[in-house]
């Protein structure tokens, strides 16, 4: 079979998880780190080779082929339906392989420095391997059920990693919150899968996505509350995607998840797990575009709202990791918008319907690089000053030159300044958005401006602004080599990422396309970005009271944004006041008085009965024999009676 070595990509992290996990503390911390990193290095090299092999050999007359090197049936469910486990290779899964393995390797290396001396270092590496394994399994899935299984595994390993500092109540609460919110969304995902498979009798992606869609006709035909079953299924599946990708209003878990170790945030909450939702939509894209365009439009509007909403919140946050968290939510909104504004599968010189798909995947790729760079940079800063708050920073450029430069590169990329990678991918998204409608284009341009503003607010507050105040008697210093090398590597990728001829590799219909910039849109974007950066420079480069005055003038908005528009409070209200008081209380009462009463009554009856029939289990053999004989005669009698 072609490319069957790809199985190793899954097996290696699984083995290292089992090895590190089972060895436990018998392994020296350093050994655990080295084993994990080495296995990930091998996985990364294999992924690169897979990408090279795939993109150099699997193109037949300009169309990328879909391969399944492995697929074995795991369980039979009924006559036709079966659950498989396998590996599917196509442009987006190969792309995700590269993204996940790269970022994961960087995080593995980085963590050797960052987590040094932490209690539970081995556990940390075991969980990292588990997470990488599940994420790779997710993207390589050949069918939606396998994807769901790994989807849940990703959720579990993310839970374990967020709650790594399990002695910290905030971390425990955050891990629970992340798990419950995403689990809640996954519930809808599962229902969507079941509806879809009920009508199509298959879980398999190839059967579902390739072909003329006749397999979907059953689902198209039956309607439920005004929409076809297929629309419902696809909308439910999107809710699952929205949960993992932190789309409004399911985004509330992501900012809290920052309680986890910072490298984990870089891996899970920037580059890999949170884009699983985008990947899911991209995977199911042929169905969305061909049969349920109304859902796709909903995705576009939801993404656009989330992008702006999160950007506004990011402007006023003071915890640097939370700024990045909201920035991530906003950027994922961009990717969702790009998918949502697509109008067809095709992408060619005169047919731009599928541009959004390509743009979205491109942005996923570049975003993974610069956002993990930002998170790792933030980790490096936190490592140096032992605080997440902007107020404790300022003037750090003198002490941490490498962190400073790489962080600046990432900021320029996310702000969309040429020639950094974010500029190119964001420009494609803008072009697609303007193609969809001018309103959408302007909305996204404003959001991009906000992005540039809050990123440079962050940058100046960390590295410029006031002079660093020394507390505790020692100056911050640059992080060790194991941490700066990943930073530099990712910065390099951010510098050159934009020049990858991405359209040649990943498009919705698997044909090749040459990216070209739309000059008008590019100029508008850059001007807006520069203006926003300029504003940020005026306000935050030097310490002054302008920002405070501004905040004072727009106190209502500022406070609302600072409190993240009270979404958490809304959830609190719904869960605590409405669900707990309105539903749970009555149930609790019912449980305590009726059910418990019945059970207690039952217990009382049982005790009484067993008192009464104690003789039944008396220990007396004569009695046993009597029961035996009597039962035999009774059964005989009844059976004969029943027969005649």
């Amino acid at each position: 079979m072609d490319m069957d070595y790809t199985l190793l990509i899954l097996l290696l992290p699984l083995c290292s998880f089992l090895f590190i996990g089972l060895s436990g503390t018998k392994l020296k911390p350093a050994v655990a780190g080295i084993v994990g990193t080495l296995s990930l290095t091998a996985v990364t090299l294999l992924s690169y080779y897979t990408a090279y092999d795939y993109f150099s050999s699997q193109n037949i007359s300009g169309v990328w082929q879909t391969l399944t090197p492995y697929n074995f049936t795991w369980l039979h469910v009924g006559e036709k339906l079966h659950i498989d486990l396998g590996i599917l290779l196509d442009p987006i899964s190969v792309l995700m392989l590269v993204v996940i393995s790269t970022v994961s390797l960087m995080v593995h290396i980085y963590s050797m420095g960052y987590m040094k001396g932490e209690k539970g270092f081995q556990r940390y590496y075991a969980f990292l391997s588990l997470f990488t394994f599940s994420m790779l399994g997710l993207v390589l899935a050949t069918n939606i059920f396998q994807m769901y299984i790994f989807w849940e595994l990703v959720g579990v390993s993310s839970y374990l990693l967020i709650g790594f500092y399990y002695t910290k109540p905030a971390a425990v609460a955050a891990s629970k919150k992340a798990f419950i919110v995403t689990r809640f969304a996954d519930f809808f995902f599962l229902i969507g899968i079941l509806v879809l498979s009920y009508f199509t009798q298959t879980f398999d992606f190839e059967a579902l996505l390739i072909g003329d869609g006749s397999i979907l006709s059953g689902a198209m035909g039956s309607t439920f509350i005004g929409a076809s079953a297929l629309t419902w299924a696809m909308a439910l599946i999107f809710i699952g995607a929205a949960g993992k990708s932190a789309m409004f209003p399911l985004h509330i878990w992501l900012p809290d998840a920052m309680e986890g170790p910072t490298p984990v945030s870089a891996l899970i909450h920037a580059a890999t797990m949170v884009v699983a939702g985008v990947y899911l939509v991209a995977r199911m894209f042929p169905i969305y575009i061909g049969f349920t365009p109304e859902v796709l439009q909903g995705i576009a509007y939801g993404g656009a709202f989330t992008a702006m909403f999160a950007a506004v919140i990011a402007i006023v946050q003071t915890d640097i990791k939370r700024v990045l968290a909201f920035s991530t939510i906003s950027q994922i909104g961009f990717m969702m918008v790009a998918l949502g504004v697509s109008t067809s599968m095709q992408l060619a010189e005169h047919e731009h319907g599928g541009l959004g798909y390509m743009a979205s995947m491109f942005h996923l790729f570049t975003h993974a690089m610069f956002k993990s760079l930002l998170f790792l940079g933030a980790g490096s800063i936190i490592h140096a000053v032992h605080s997440n708050e902007m107020a404790d920073m300022g003037g750090l450029r003198k002490y941490m030159p490498i962190t400073h430069i790489t962080f600046l590169i990432a900021c320029l990329a996310i702000a969309g300044i040429p020639p950094f990678s974010g500029f190119v991918s964001k420009d494609e998204i803008m072009t697609a958005a303007y193609g969809f409608g001018t309103g959408m284009g302007i909305w996204m341009t404003i959001t991009a401006g906000l992005t540039a503003f809050y990123m440079f607010r962050l940058y100046y507050r960390i590295f410029w602004n006031k002079e660093y105040e020394v507390h505790g008697g020692h100056l911050p210093h640059e992080s060790p080599r194991s941490m700066t090398i990943p930073l530099m590597f990712l910065a390099l990728l951010t510098l050159v990422g934009g020049f990858i001829p991405f359209g040649k590799f990943v498009t919705a219909d698997h044909t090749q396309y040459t990216i070209h910039l739309d000059t008008t849109i590019a100029i508008i974007s850059v001007v807006v970005a520069l203006a926003a950066i300029g504003l940020a420079t005026i306000l935050y480069r030097k310490e002054n009271d302008q920002p405070a005055r501004l905040a004072g003038r727009m106190q209502g908005l500022y406070k609302a944004a600072y409190h993240r528009f009270y979404i958490d409070e809304v959830y609190q209200f719904i869960t605590k006041k409405i669900i707990f008081n309105g539903i749970s209380r009555p149930f609790a009462w019912f449980d305590r008085h009726v059910i418990d009463g019945a059970i207690n009554g039952l217990g009382w009856i049982t005790t009484r009965t067993s008192e009464a029939v104690k003789g039944f289990q008396s220990g007396s053999v004569q009695w046993y024999a009597w029961v035996f004989l009597f039962a035999t005669l009774l059964i005989t009698f009844l059976t004969i009676l029943f027969t005649h």
Partner: protein, 475 residues
């Protein structure tokens, strides 16, 4: 077929007989020092026997139809072999003087009962069937009474032999009427001659009551808790897994092969017995303090689930039944393994004694927890899959209400299985059972069981292999 090739065809029986005789000779000739190696030698010989007959051979008959062999019977024999092997690994109690000054007896007698079960499964004639049954039950009584100093053990042995004799009497009475009305004892000749007339139904019920006694379905179960509690734990685990598994399979074979004409009758009998077995056993299990008694009731309710596989009367039902036995073997023996270890070292057998076990013996608690999860049917452990398939088999034939009742009972059973887990992990105890050391035999048995619980469900190959053989079995 000459008699030599007849014997050759019964190769699994002959090879087991060789093992038995070898152990007997060793028991008679080895001195006090040689006896120390009895356990490893018995294990090795049985392991060789198991591996030699791991996969079933082609179907056929010998001795003019007295003996029939189907691949499915071969699979069941392998399952019984594996179970016995695990039980031998856990047999450390018989190394001590407390049980017997001639430890060989234990292994010898156990293997003789196993041979009896072999004949029961492979018989094609009621005579051989009955001989197999008796060959299996008389030594069990001896085994139950083996703890010589214990009054309870003696009581268990006496109760078992009395009840077994009584049930044999009833069963023989039924068989004699079957012979009287059909004029044959060959399984192959009987189906055509059996119909739903009063006399044959009576004969059938009398016969089958004896089988229900072996499987311990309510109300033929009364002996079970007393014998399980009194007998040495190792013998209890043999009773609960091997004896029960073999009897269920034999029952299914007879119902399918001999009594297929009166399927409506036996389906309604099983219907009623399943419901009362599962429900009553569950209600009694909740109240037990002694863990062996607790598992006795648990095994009665599990028997009800196993019989669910028979009631459909389909090959798929047979597959799920054998699979259930296979899974049940690992789950139950894991629990009994832990109980044996704790009982042998501390003498404690009550559930409250297990409080706080996790703090001192995390590994044992972990194995016990897995076993309880698997018995309760929590995914992804093997017990979940076996329950799932057996429900599916019954649903397929339209027994919806029965399955619903079984599912409700599963939830009740979860409650009491989790009570054990709660005792071990959550409840506090001032004086928990101290940290225990286990020998490598016990360790191996627990690792084996744990692997079974974790892997048998997830890897579908086991189910598929069993399914492969089940279609060949109903002609």
């Amino acid at each position: 077929m000459d008699s030599f090739s007849n014997f050759l065809f019964m190769r699994s029986e002959v090879s087991l007989l060789v093992v038995i005789l070898a152990l007997l000779v060793f028991d008679l000739t080895a001195g006090k020092r040689g006896m120390r190696y009895f356990q490893p030698i018995a294990i090795i010989l049985l392991a060789i026997h198991t591996i030699l007959h791991l996969l079933p051979h082609e179907a056929g008959i010998a001795f003019g139809g007295m003996y029939t062999y189907t691949p499915m019977a071969g699979v069941v024999k392998t399952i019984l072999n594996i179970a016995t092997l695990i039980i031998f690994l856990q047999a450390e109690a018989f190394n001590s003087e407390r049980m017997s000054n001639k430890k060989g007896e234990y292994y010898f007698l156990t293997l003789v009962t196993l041979l009896g079960f072999y004949f029961m499964i492979s018989s094609g004639h009621f005579l051989l069937f009955y001989i197999g049954l008796e060959m299996a039950s008389i030594p069990i009584a001896t085994l139950a009474a083996m703890e010589k100093q214990s009054k309870r053990s003696a009581e268990a042995g006496a109760k078992y032999i009395l009840m077994a004799a009584f049930s044999s009497g009833i069963m023989l009475f039924g068989i004699s009427y079957l012979y009287g009305t059909t004029g044959t004892l060959y399984f192959a000749d009987m189906p055509a001659l059996i119909s739903a007339n009063t006399l044959q139904i009576m004969a059938f019920v009398f016969f089958i009551a004896g089988m229900f006694f072996k499987i311990s379905l309510v109300p033929f179960h009364l002996w079970t808790p007393d014998v399980y509690e009194g007998a040495p734990t190792n013998v209890t685990s043999y009773l609960s897994v091997v004896s029960k598994g073999a009897a269920v399979f034999a029952l299914a074979l007879l119902l399918y092969r001999v009594f297929s004409n009166i399927i409506e009758q036996w389906q309604s009998i099983l219907y009623g017995l399943i419901i009362i077995s599962i429900t009553l056993a569950n209600l009694f299990a909740i109240r037990q303090k002694n863990i062996k008694r607790f598992l006795a009731f648990s095994s009665i309710s599990q028997a009800g689930y196993i019989v669910l596989g028979i009631i459909g009367g389909t090959p798929f039902g047979m597959t799920t039944l054998v699979y259930y036995i296979f899974v049940y073997l690992f789950s139950n023996l894991a629990a009994f393994g832990v109980i044996t270890i704790i009982e042998n070292r501390t003498g404690k057998v009550n559930i409250p004694d297990y409080k706080g076990l996790y703090s001192t013996n995390p590994r044992l608690s972990f194995v016990m927890m897995l076993s309880m999860f698997s018995l309760g049917g929590i995914p992804p452990f093997a017990g979940f899959f076996s329950k799932f398939f057996i429900f599916a088999a019954a649903m397929e034939q339209g027994f919806y209400i029965l399955v619903l009742i079984a599912v409700i009972n599963t939830i009740i059973s979860l409650y009491y299985y989790l009570l054990v887990v709660k005792a071990m992990f959550i409840d506090k105890n001032e004086h928990p059972i101290p940290s225990l050391r286990t020998d490598s035999y016990n360790k191996a048995s627990l690792i084996f069981c744990t692997a079974g619980i974790l892997l048998v469900g997830i890897f579908s190959i086991f189910m598929e292999k069993i399914e492969l053989f089940s279609f060949a079995m109903i002609q």
